[in-house]
């Protein structure tokens, strides 16, 4: 089973990397770009067949290590 975790900076936390990419996209002619936020994508492979149990475990992993909930949010998808 595979869990996909998306870790993003909380809204309101400055993302200088995203700003730099947005500026460069603007220079490339993509005038429609209103903003860019950069996060992390983490794949976690797990044993076991219960998606609900897996999600609960990955939730705990996110709180304890994968995300820093002071400045980051996370979203979990579990493939079945």
């Amino acid at each position: 089973m595979r869990a996909r975790v998306y870790v993003t900076l909380k809204s309101g936390v400055l993302d200088p990397q995203g700003q730099a990419v947005a500026r460069t996209l603007g220079r490339l002619g993509y005038g429609e770009v209103q903003g860019v936020r950069i996060g992390k994508y983490v794949e976690i492979d797990l044993e076991g067949g219960d998606p609900d149990a897996a999600r609960a475990r990955v939730e705990e992993m996110c709180r304890r290590l994968v995300a820093n909930t002071v400045i980051e949010d996370y979203r979990i998808e579990v493939d079945t």
Partner: protein, 244 residues
């Protein structure tokens, strides 16, 4: 009886030997000594002060300090801190103490996106800590910084300030706290904070790199933090930083 500083070494620590030099050589005549504590140790071995040094532990993988904060030795460091023991985290050590939950807040990527490596000035404020209690208020202290992720972020910075837990702010050489003196975009120029009890301190600048007069004007300013810790352990009133 010397005051024993335990300097925690993780894979990727790189200011550990500098810190040991300060306490074990420069400050030995003043009654200090120091030794390394390997990150796999589960006991601190009776040290009086714990110092978590700078570096790039685990290559800053995931987030700076995130993996080191889960090392075996950190359980003992947390226990030492909860019992009131003085703990100081410098640069990556500050990041590790935040990730370990001993200090509030987080250190995000510098607003400039640059690795900032230069001298800065700091002013001391807030509640007394074992490492700052004898430093005169308003005294500008010079130290170097060297970090890419030092932008301090706290979700409720008013509360932090109200509790006197902002200990260092970036300032000009005259001690003025202005945005132009902020090297990394930290909220309200915050360079260092302490826990609610005041015994755990973290800061991004490097006091251990400013402890010998060979380094010129302000080159010994970092010594004040270590001298404070010695006076704190000895229980004697002190005033440090009187040279200038």
């Amino acid at each position: 009886m010397s005051v024993v500083f335990g300097v925690v070494r993780f894979p990727g620590s790189n200011c550990d030997d500098d810190a040991v030099r300060v306490v074990d050589q420069v400050l030995r005549p003043a009654g200090a000594s120091g030794r390394i504590i390997w990150h796999k140790e589960r006991a601190l071995g009776g040290v009086d002060v714990v110092l978590v040094p700078g570096g790039f532990t685990y290559g800053d993988y995931l987030r700076a300090g995130a993996l080191a904060a889960q090392s075996p030795v950190m359980d003992a460091v947390v226990e030492f801190a909860r019992a009131g023991g003085p703990v100081i985290g410098i640069c990556n050590g500050f990041q590790i103490l935040c990730e370990a939950g001993l200090l509030d807040g987080a250190l995000a990527r510098n607003a400039s996106l640059h690795f900032e490596c230069r001298d800065v000035h700091l002013v001391v404020e807030g509640r007394p800590t074992p490492f700052t209690h004898a430093i005169p208020a308003g005294r500008a202290i010079r130290m170097s910084i060297a970090h890419a992720q030092g932008r301090y972020v706290h979700p409720d910075v008013d509360r932090l300030e109200g509790e006197g837990r902002v200990v260092f702010r970036y300032a000009t050489a005259d001690g003025a706290v202005i945005e132009a003196a902020n090297p990394n975009g930290s909220q309200r120029n915050i360079a260092g904070v302490c826990n609610a009890e005041g015994n755990v301190l973290g800061l991004m600048p490097h006091p251990e790199r400013a402890c010998e007069d060979l380094l010129g004007e302000g080159g010994e300013d970092g010594l004040m933090l270590f001298e404070c810790a010695l006076a704190w352990k000895a229980g004697v009133p002190a005033r440090v930083g009187g040279k200038r």
